[in-house]
C-alpha cells in the first residue's frame, strides 16, 4: 500500500461514523468562538494564587497575535498551499483507483497542471524575496479535504463523488485567484495569478461539460426568453454556471446516504485571513 493509500485509509478510519453535515468555515468559527468564550470564562475563574475563592478579573497575561499584513508573498504562499491541496486530492483518488478511462486521463492532466501551478507560484514567491510553501494548506486540509476524501471513500459511487469533489475544488481554486486580484498590489502579478486562475476554472468547466453535456451554459439568473430557459431546478454541474466568477461558497454533496436518504453537503470556501500561510508561522 502506498503512503497516500495509507493516508486515505487512516482518514477513513479516523472519520468513520463522523457527521460532517453542514460543514462550513463559518460554522467552525462560531463553534471556535464559543470554545474560546468558555475558555476565557474558565481562565477568569482561575488565578495565580490559590486563595480558595474564585475571583473575576484575574485572567493570566495573554500573548496578542502579531499584526501581520497580508502581502503579495503571503497570497502566493497560500496559493501554493492550495495547489498542494489539489495535488493531494488527485493523487489520493488515483492511488485509490476511483477513476478509470477518460476520467482518469483528465484527472492525471489536472494533476500535472496543479504541479506546474505550484512550481509557478513558488517561483514567484522566491522572486519577491519570500520562502515558498511546499505543503497543502493545513487548515483547509483538515477542515475540508480530509473529511471530503473520507466521504468519497465511503460513497456508493466513488467515481461520481471524486468528480463532484474535483468540480468543487477546481471552482474554488479559480475563485481563490480571482479573490486575490484586488488584494495583490502589483498589476503584473495579478495577471500572472489569473493566468493560473482561469485554467483552474477551465478544469472545473471540463468536469461540468462531462457531467452535464446537455446543458452547457446555465440560464439561472438570466433574463432570457422562455424558449431559452431551463426547466426545473438548476443542476449541480455546468461548463458555465454564471456570468461572473463566483465568490460564494461552493457546495458539494458527497458520501453515502444516511437512514433518511440524505447525503452530506460540504461548503468549500476561499481561504480567508485565518487560512493564509503567513511566513511568521513557518516552523510552528
Amino acid at each position: 500500500m502506498s503512503n497516500d493509500n495509507k493516508t486515505l485509509a487512516s482518514i477513513v478510519r479516523a472519520t468513520a461514523g463522523a457527521d460532517f453535515s453542514h460543514l462550513s468555515r463559518r460554522r467552525f468559527l462560531l463553534a471556535g468562538g464559543a470554545t474560546i468564550s468558555f475558555g476565557a470564562l474558565l481562565a477568569a475563574c482561575g488565578g495565580g494564587e490559590k486563595s480558595g475563592i474564585a475571583r473575576v478579573g484575574l485572567a493570566p497575561e495573554t500573548t496578542a497575535l502579531p499584526d501581520v499584513p497580508v502581502t503579495d508573498i503571503t497570497l502566493l504562499r497560500t496559493a501554493t498551499s492550495l495547489e498542494h491541496n489539489a495535488i493531494f486530492v488527485y493523487e489520493a483518488v488515483a492511488d485509490a483507483g476511483f477513476l478509470s478511462g477518460d476520467a482518469a486521463q483528465l484527472a492525471s492532466r489536472f494533476l500535472s497542471d496543479h504541479k506546474a501551478h505550484a512550481d509557478a507560484t513558488a517561483s514567484l514567491t522566491s522572486s519577491l524575496g519570500g520562502t515558498p510553501f511546499t505543503d497543502p494548506n493545513p487548515r483547509l486540509q483538515s477542515l475540508y479535504i480530509e473529511p471530503a476524501l473520507a466521504l468519497v471513500a465511503q460513497a456508493d459511487d466513488p467515481a461520481a463523488d471524486s468528480l463532484a469533489l474535483a468540480y468543487a475544488l477546481e471552482t474554488l481554486a479559480g475563485a481563490t485567484y480571482q479573490f486575490y486580484v484586488p488584494m495583490i498590489a502589483e498589476p503584473s502579478l495579478r495577471a500572472q495569478a489569473m493566468g493560473i486562475g482561469q485554467q483552474e476554472a477551465r478544469h472545473a468547466a471540463v468536469i461540468g461539460a462531462v457531467l452535464n453535456p446537455d446543458r452547457l451554459v446555465s440560464s439561472q439568473g438570466l433574463a432570457l426568453k422562455a424558449e431559452y430557459r431551463e426547466e426545473g431546478d438548476p443542476l449541480p454541474f455546468y461548463a458555465s454556471p454564471s456570468a461572473f466568477g463566483t465568490q460564494s461558497p461552493v457546495p458539494v454533496t458527497l458520501g453515502p446516504a444516511n437512514e433518511s436518504g440524505s447525503r452530506t453537503s460540504v461548503n468549500l470556501e476561499t481561504p480567508s485571513l485565518n487560512s493564509m500561510v503567513y511566513e511568521y508561522l513557518d516552523g510552528e
Partner: protein, 164 residues
C-alpha cells in the same frame, strides 16, 4: 515603503475598461446574430445564455465607469468574426472568440491599476475561460484526445489592444 494601489479606476484604467466594454458588446451581438440565423445548433439556450453573460459583463463595466462607457460594440471585432459565426464553423469560431477575450482580459490586468476594475475583469475572465470549454464541447472536440483545446489559449490567439 510600498504604496497601496488605488481602489477606483484611474483615467488610464477607464480607457482600458471602455475598450473591454466594447469587446463584450461585440461578443453579445455575435451570439445574438448566430441565434437569429439559426446557427446555435442543438443548444440555443446555452448560446442565448452566453449572449446574456457578455451583456451582463458590459453592463457591469458600464456601472463602473459611468458616462465614460462607450455603449457601442468593437466593430473591428464584430466584423472579423461575423462571417464565421454561422453554419458549421460557428462553434469553433466562437471558441476562438472566447479564447481571444480571455487573453485580452489577461493583458488588461497587466495594466489596470485600480483594484475595483481589476477585480471585475478577473471575474469576467473566469466566466469566459469557462465559455471556452462550453464551446469546445459544443464543437464536438473530445476532452480526452484534445485536452489542450479545452485548457490552453492557442498560440495563434492574440490579445486585443486599444492601441492596435
Amino acid at each position: 515603503m510600498t504604496t497601496s494601489p488605488p481602489r477606483r479606476p484611474t483615467d488610464a484604467d477607464i480607457e482600458l475598461l471602455a475598450y473591454a466594454q466594447q469587446a463584450e458588446l461585440a461578443a453579445r451581438d455575435l451570439y445574438n446574430a448566430a441565434l437569429e440565423n439559426g446557427s446555435a445548433g442543438d443548444q440555443p439556450g446555452s448560446i442565448a445564455a452566453l449572449a446574456a453573460h457578455h451583456d451582463a459583463a458590459s453592463q457591469a463595466i458600464s456601472s463602473m465607469i459611468g458616462r465614460n462607457a462607450p455603449q457601442a460594440r468593437l466593430e473591428t471585432l464584430f466584423t472579423s468574426f461575423k462571417p464565421s459565426f454561422s453554419g458549421s464553423e460557428f462553434a469553433t469560431s466562437a471558441h476562438q472568440l472566447e479564447n481571444t477575450l480571455v487573453a485580452t482580459h489577461g493583458s488588461l490586468l497587466e495594466n489596470l491599476e485600480g483594484t475595483e476594475g481589476a477585480a471585475l475583469v478577473a471575474s469576467v475572465m473566469i466566466a469566459e475561460a469557462r465559455h471556452v470549454v462550453a464551446l469546445a464541447a459544443l464543437a464536438g472536440i473530445s476532452p480526452a484526445s484534445n485536452t489542450d483545446a479545452y485548457l490552453t489559449i492557442p498560440a495563434d490567439v492574440v490579445a486585443l489592444s486599444p492601441e492596435a
